[in-house]
């Protein structure tokens, strides 16, 4: 095995590029990667064409780190292509894992999104009514651009995923961990989440946890928080308890509540549902009106519950 260099592809679907940055954030480790592996596809850093990939034998690639969600036909096409060419398909980062921030678009229909982006956007030139078309005839012939799907999918919705590396973006240490595991052949059983904890962020969170009773919810900027005490107990909607740890408690350590990017814990099917269940359970009132009043302090419930995972939720999208 040692003679043959590892064949690696990195690809981004509907993504912000943060995951790729996270790979680069491994700093000099990337050189070790380069030494140990051939990076066969990495659109952000390496020139490469789809034809090259198509030309590969099936399973020629050892591993593909696929970040980003599946938003359009190109994403799906490439995902399927890479799946065919790879021995191991890794959903890399929250977008691939659960849909991520792009997944929030699942609250809206394709038409609403198009309308918002191309017709009804304050940054557009007045009067412009141009909408992207999948096929456009021009001087060069017929141009084809990918079809914009009705909703966002997780990578797992379109192809079989072998491993998942959660995080928005994954912590550089996870990137190291997963690549090391591939190189050393110490991968866990298929289907596992790699590089993250089996417990919630709270487990790693150093803040002091006591009685959980909340009589009012606050946005982080609304109060001066106690840096020692559990944010939720202070009324700040922290998703740490419903979120897999592995991030190093970066947000709470920065006095910001956890937003849940690492996704639900292994035994939890729907992160958002659990989030509202847990958070509302600790509302300190038995009076229906007061309960309503307290819970009114929770803004944008969909956004809070599924900031990183609407396509991964049970219902996946709004109707």
């Amino acid at each position: 095995m040692a003679e043959r260099k590892l064949q690696v592809a990195l690809y981004w679907g509907a993504a912000c590029g943060g995951c790729d940055v996270a790979v680069l954030d491994t700093n000099e480790f990337i050189l070790d990667v380069a030494a140990a592996a051939d990076i066969r596809l990495w659109p952000i850093a390496v020139d490469g064409k789809y034809q090259d990939v198509e030309a590969m034998d099936d399973a020629e690639l050892d591993v593909t780190l696929f970040n980003g969600a599946v938003r359009n036909s190109e994403n799906e096409h490439v995902a399927k292509l890479l799946r065919r060419k790879s021995k191991i398909m890794v959903a890399f980062g929250t977008c691939a894992h659960l849909g991520g921030i792009p997944g929030l678009a699942n609250q809206f229909s394709r038409e609403e999104i198009m309308e918002r982006a191309y017709l009804n956007n304050p940054s557009l030139e007045v009067g412009n009514r141009t909408l992207p078309q999948t096929q456009t005839d021009c001087a060069a012939g017929q141009l084809e651009i990918p079809r914009f799907y009705a909703r966002v999918y997780r990578l797992a919705d379109v192809v079989e995923v072998d491993y998942t590396v959660p995080g928005c973006p994954p912590h550089p240490s996870q990137v190291k961990a997963v690549l090391t595991a591939v190189v050393t052949g110490t991968l866990p059983p298929r289907g596992a989440v790699v590089g993250a904890s089996e417990r919630a962020v709270c487990d790693d969170c150093p803040r002091k946890k006591e009685e959980k009773r909340v009589a009012r919810f606050y946005r982080p900027w609304q109060i001066i928080q106690d840096p020692e005490r559990c944010l939720l107990e202070q009324g700040i909607l922290c998703a740490g308890s419903v979120t897999r740890s592995g991030c190093g408690v970066r947000c709470p350590n920065s006095n910001m509540p956890c937003r849940g990017c690492y996704g639900p814990l292994p035994n939890v099917r729907d992160q958002g549902a659990k989030f509202i269940s847990a958070v509302s359970s600790i509302v300190d009132s038995k009076d229906p009106e007061e309960i309503d009043r307290i819970l009114a302090g929770v803004p944008d419930i969909m956004g809070y519950a599924y900031r990183f995972g609407l396509p991964g939720s049970l219902l996946q999208r709004s109707l």
Binding site: E198, R199, A200, V201, C202, D203, K209, E210, E211, K212, R213, C230, G240, S241, V242, S245, P264, L265, P266, N267, V268, R269, K274, F275, S277, A278, S281, I282
Partner: protein, 572 residues
């Protein structure tokens, strides 16, 4: 997952189910489900042959899971669990589909009912796949009992337990024992002295070293679980307050009733007319030997009005059960103390149902009590009599027996106030975790076959706190409660249900979300391990913590997410 071998049994319940549900079709449909190796329908699944059929199949077909589609699991789940156990299968490998109470009995469209029954059965099959073997556990039974309320029921229960040499804490709020019976002079229908009855029992209570009587005391808190409760009892009034911590195994709630407030019924003018009194006011008069009007003269006309606050749309719909006989007792007593007086008795239906009661009713008539029957809902009206009458008041009543509206003279009107649940019954209910019905009475575990137990293990109810009751019925109930407790004491240990919640410490992140949610304080947080865990004996398996655990680290045994998901899939 290994392949399951599931048996499905569809009960016809005579025609109870079969009339509306095509049981055979339900069985045939179930047969198609994965894992199902046998599906049968039978006339009475709960009968001995029915149970034996299941047991036979378990042995012959090596079943490892059983689904019974029959009546409500509240009815026969235990029966069938017993059957499984009898065949050597873990009793929790059973799931029931309720196709009678919630299907055949409530639907009129046989096709829809059958398809619903099939869905419910399918859900049960899907669920049972995930059932886990559970074992019952045993905990110690503390022989001491806490009796809350020192009325006749409480005293009886205490004496019964103490008579078997078991320690009892008898807690009474007042400074004396006896409760409402202590306010009564004689008892119906044999006109025995209530005072004598109590004197004897109280003397026995005092002489019994097993009974610790705590007067002027209130139970503040009851924690723990069956066999192992701890009660905090606060004794004394404002000044000197002592607190007793008692370790007890059972609780009998005998908090009794409170009389209905007669002033709430406008037409009787209680509180307005000085000579309109309640039954308890009248008892006081009888006990003092001074039955007089506000003018100090013995009344010439005594009127007794039944059903004050009872059997009414406006106040309490129920019958208070004892007032009729008490009213007849008053008729006797009034005739005895005031031989010249005329006694009227205004009733709706005469509830003289107990032993000796009909005879007492007859004798009340023989001593010339004049009975008038008024209609439920049209209460008699009382007004001041003018100077031309030789009486204080006139009662206008539409007598149902003659069809005439008559005025009857009255110098003294006795209102038979009904019983209502005590104002603070809710507090007691919450303290010992029992429920109240719409009228505030404590709810028994089963109205027919378990009239003294409650849905909370180790907590019993006796006497008029469960529903209006006379002395003899209260006494019987108090003893019945004592029987339950003695039975447990005799066995020395108690079975604790195998169904409870448990924390998977491998998954618990110590977020402490659940800690405050548990009403039984069954969840303990380990500061050193930074993990929570459930004290299973305290757990009542409600599942609150399970639903809220953000990590999914708490499992409700027998109600796991997986099982319920499967069930959801099944019903749809």
């Amino acid at each position: 997952m290994e392949e399951r071998r599931i048996g499905v049994y569809v009960c016809n319940c005579g025609t109870n189910i079969a009339k509306m549900v095509d049981c055979e079709a339900v069985a045939r449909e179930a047969e198609q489900l994965p894992g199902v190796v046998a599906a049968r329908s039978y006339k009475y699944m709960c009968s001995n042959p029915g149970q034996e059929m299941i047991q036979q199949d378990i042995r012959d077909l090596k079943l490892d899971r059983v689904v019974v589609a029959a009546c409500s699991p509240r009815m026969h789940e235990l029966t069938f669990r017993g059957a499984l156990q009898g065949a050597g299968l873990n009793p929790y490998f059973l799931e029931m589909a309720n196709i009678r109470e919630q299907c055949s009995w409530v639907h009129e469209d046989a096709r829809a009912a059958t398809s619903k029954a099939a869905a419910l059965t399918r859900a049960a099959v899907k669920r049972v796949v995930f059932h886990e073997p559970l074992e019952k556990r045993y905990v110690d039974m503390c022989p001491a009992t806490l009796v809350i309320g020192g009325g006749v029921a409480g005293i009886t229960a205490a004496l019964e337990l103490a008579g078997a040499d078991q320690p009892v804490y008898l807690v009474e709020r007042e400074d004396h024992l006896g409760g409402n019976v202590a306010r009564v002079d004689l008892t119906a229908p044999y006109l025995d002295s209530a005072r004598d009855i109590l004197a004897e029992r109280i003397a026995r209570v005092r002489e019994n070293s097993n009974i610790r009587v705590l007067l002027e005391s209130e139970v503040q808190q009851v924690t723990g679980f069956v066999g192992n409760f701890t009660a905090t009892i606060r004794t004394g009034r404002d000044g000197e307050v002592a607190t007793t911590e008692a370790r007890i195994g059972s609780v009998i709630v005998c908090t009794g009733y409170q009389p209905f407030d007669a002033a709430r019924v406008q037409s009787y003018g209680y509180g307005w007319f000085p000579n309109v009194v309640t039954s308890f006011d009248f008892e006081r008069m009888l006990r003092s030997g001074r039955i007089v009007t506000d003018k100090g003269a013995p009344p010439r006309y005594v009127a007794i009005v039944h059903c004050i606050g009872s059997r009414s749309q406006e106040f309490h719909p129920y019958c208070s059960r004892v007032c009729c006989m008490t009213a007849l007792k008053y008729a006797h007593e009034a005739k005895s103390a005031l031989p010249e007086a005329y006694v009227y008795d205004l009733y709706i239906d005469m509830h003289a149902f107990g032993k000796g009661c009909e005879d007492f009713y007859r004798r009340s008539a023989e001593i010339k009590t004049i009975f008038l029957m008024y209609r439920k809902g049209s209460a008699p009206e009382i007004r001041q009599a003018g100077p031309k009458y030789d009486c204080e008041m006139l009662i206008r009543v539409n007598d149902q027996l003659s069809g005439e509206e008559v005025d009857i003279p009255a110098d003294l009107v006795v209102l038979m106030v009904g019983m209502e649940s005590r104002e603070d019954a809710g507090k007691v209910a919450r303290m010992v975790n029992i429920s109240q019905d719409k009228d505030g009475w404590f709810i028994e575990s089963h109205p027919k076959l378990d009239p003294v137990a409650t849905t909370t293990d180790g907590v019993f109810i006796a006497g008029a706190c469960q529903a209006p009751k006379d002395i003899t019925d209260s006494v019987a109930q108090a003893r019945a409660a004592a029987a339950r407790i003695l039975g447990k004491i005799a066995r020395g240990r108690i079975e604790v249900d195998a169904v409870f919640a448990e924390v998977d410490e491998e998954r618990c992140s110590g977020c402490r979300m659940c800690n405050e949610l548990c009403p039984y304080v069954a969840i303990e947080y380990d500061e050193t391990k930074k993990r929570s865990h459930v004290i299973s004996a305290l757990c009542k398996a409600c599942g609150t913590c399970v639903a809220s655990c953000p990590s999914g680290a708490i499992k409700a045994r027998h109600f796991t997410d997986q099982q319920i998901f499967a069930q959801i899939e099944g019903v749809l």
